[in-house]
């Protein structure tokens, strides 16, 4: 810095050139690099584990696909073995990964504002020339986008890891829309991470204490994720309806019901009564007294009843991904905007 720059002082003009954004890059990096390292460590460890267990699994799966002749006893046994060995581990991994976006949002972003407010350092940060609204944006947005991008990259690896279980031949196959894995694939994992970060930012500003803000972020995220998985996702597009019990394996079954002769849905009690009359082996009185087996579907059809299912076909995977990613992105933008509004209007 030159002596001239040192002595330079703001004049009376109020149209000052603001402090450039890139200066905040150093600030955000310096103050949050250890948090980012923590996220990198967590995702890196999980990725290493996926690779470590995924590579042998894919070898075994390749051997399975090459099994000849397909349908032989040996090949069927190999499939059962594969399921037994690998499914429980993959399932546990999928369950564990459900909470990763919440952990990232709660521990990485919730403390950003909460710690400033808890320790009083906001009185320093928000009276610097950069301006507190811009300061907030320059901290929250790069952090949230960076960790969401890392989560997105991680979910590509997970999709590779989990690919064998989308195979129709396995007993443990999961449709891609299944709640257990839908939000770990595609853009959803990154979008849920971004949502957790923006919830964390707002919780930190509202609650002003680090630990309660972390807890509130996890709770709010869990509520949103459960609502999406249990209630919202099945309505993204109107479910298809069919009267067959044999859906393709990629379909996500939403609900099923029976209709009677008059075409009206039957109550659960009526179905139970009706099905009590079904016996797999029916005696047919006749001169030769033959025994015929009647399958349940046939039995139902014989009596004019119909079995209906509503489902989401597997082909809707990407439309659903974009719908979920889209509204989570919108929600995140809204929450971050609300956080900045609060910083600007409700300080001290």
């Amino acid at each position: 810095m030159t002596a001239l720059a040192i002595s330079a002082r703001p004049g009376n003009d109020t149209a000052l050139r603001p402090v450039p954004w890139r200066r905040m890059a150093w600030v955000t990096w310096r103050q949050h690099r250890s948090t980012l390292a923590g996220v990198a460590g967590l995702l890196g460890a999980l990725a290493a584990y996926l690779l470590f267990t995924g590579l042998p699994m894919h070898h075994a799966y390749a051997a399975l696909a090459a099994c000849h002749p397909a349908g032989s006893m040996a090949c069927s046994n190999a499939i059962v073995d594969f399921d037994n060995v690998h499914w429980s581990m993959a399932e546990a991994m999928a369950v564990l990964l459900q909470v990763v976006p919440a952990l990232i949002g709660a521990f990485c972003v919730a403390p950003v504002l909460a710690r400033e407010l808890e320790t009083g350092t906001f009185r320093y940060a928000w009276t610097q020339g950069f301006g507190r609204a811009r300061w907030t944006l320059a901290k929250i947005a790069p952090l949230a986008v960076t960790v969401a991008a890392a989560a997105g990259a991680f979910s590509v690896l997970f999709s590779w890891y989990f690919a064998p279980f989308a195979d129709q031949g396995l007993q443990t196959r999961l449709p891609p829309l299944a709640p257990l894995v839908f939000d770990l694939h595609g853009v959803a994992f990154a979008a849920w991470t971004l949502a957790a970060c923006s919830i964390g930012a707002l919780a930190g500003m509202l609650i002003r204490r680090v630990v309660p803000a972390i807890a509130a972020t996890m709770a709010a995220w869990a509520g949103l994720a459960l609502a999406a998985g249990l209630f919202l996702r099945q309505h993204y597009l109107t479910p298809l309806v069919a009267h067959t019990p044999n859906l393709p394996g990629s379909a996500w079954l939403i609900s099923s019901w029976y209709t009677g002769r008059n075409g009206k849905p039957l109550s659960q009690a009526a179905i139970s009564r009706f099905l009590q009359g079904y016996h797999p082996v029916a005696q047919q009185a006749g001169p030769n007294s033959t025994r015929t087996t009647v399958d349940p579907v046939g039995y139902i059809a014989q009596h004019g009843y119909q079995y209906w299912v509503s489902y989401q076909p597997g082909s809707r995977f990407w439309p659903f991904q974009w719908i979920e990613g889209g509204y989570l992105l919108g929600l995140s933008a809204l929450l971050i905007a609300a956080t900045i509004w609060l910083v600007r209007h409700r300080a001290a």
Binding site: M1, A5, I6, S7, A8, R9, P10, N12, D13, T14, L16, R17, P18, V19, R23, M24, W26, V27, R30, Q31, T119, G120, T121, R123, Y124, A125, W126, T127, Q128, G129, F130, G131, W135, H345, A347, A348
Partner: protein
Amino acid sequence: MNVIEAKSLGKHYRGTWALRECTLAIPAGHVAALVGPNGAGKTTLLNLAVGLAAPSAGAVTVLGGRPAGSPAALDGIAFVAQDTPVYRNLSAADLLHLTRNLNRHFDMGYARARLGELGIPLKRKAGKLSGGQQAQLALTLALGRRPRLLVLDEPLANLDPVARHDFMATVMTAVAADGVSVLLSSHVLAELERVADYLILLSRGQVQMAGKAGDLLARHRMAGLEELALAYLRGPGVTALSVENDETSEVAK
């Protein structure tokens, strides 16, 4: 130019007015002491002036008409809050870089030299410094910005007598060298006696008295600011009181 100008300024928190009908104009070039008992509204007034809080009523401008908290206002004001909050996990050097990056101007040479004189190692974390050193560090970060107005909220409250003296010496050096205007709040009157040449007396959320120290002393025929403030705070109508051996904390009542 007035460094701070308030018109009917008011702020209320949860139903009570922390500051009410405050009208005030502090001219540039003074070391102004904002004095009053705890809960008088000193911190509220300073928060409004630096833009941390928004007024509930009235308006406050700084540095010749700039709205408090606006980019132009923030550019010219440096604020050291009560208990001098700094990021405890950052080193002194990091805090200098941080402050430089957050402002249009920062005099790194001055700040480094200042910390050197004070014997504060650049590599030491702020959390590992003594209370006096932390206060000096926060003050250095503020003065490095070369502000036109330095606002200090209870800067001496938690410092031992030596640290108080050193802190005020740094402030007065900057005043002499740079002509920076200073507004500081305190309930420790004795410390301000030698440095303040402008007095604002605040009590129960309202300005009781404001003016140049010399004028006020002459008008009220008092020997010192402490005497004057105590006389006023003890109640209206009382013009002379013995103040020897009075603890400043008693002023609070």
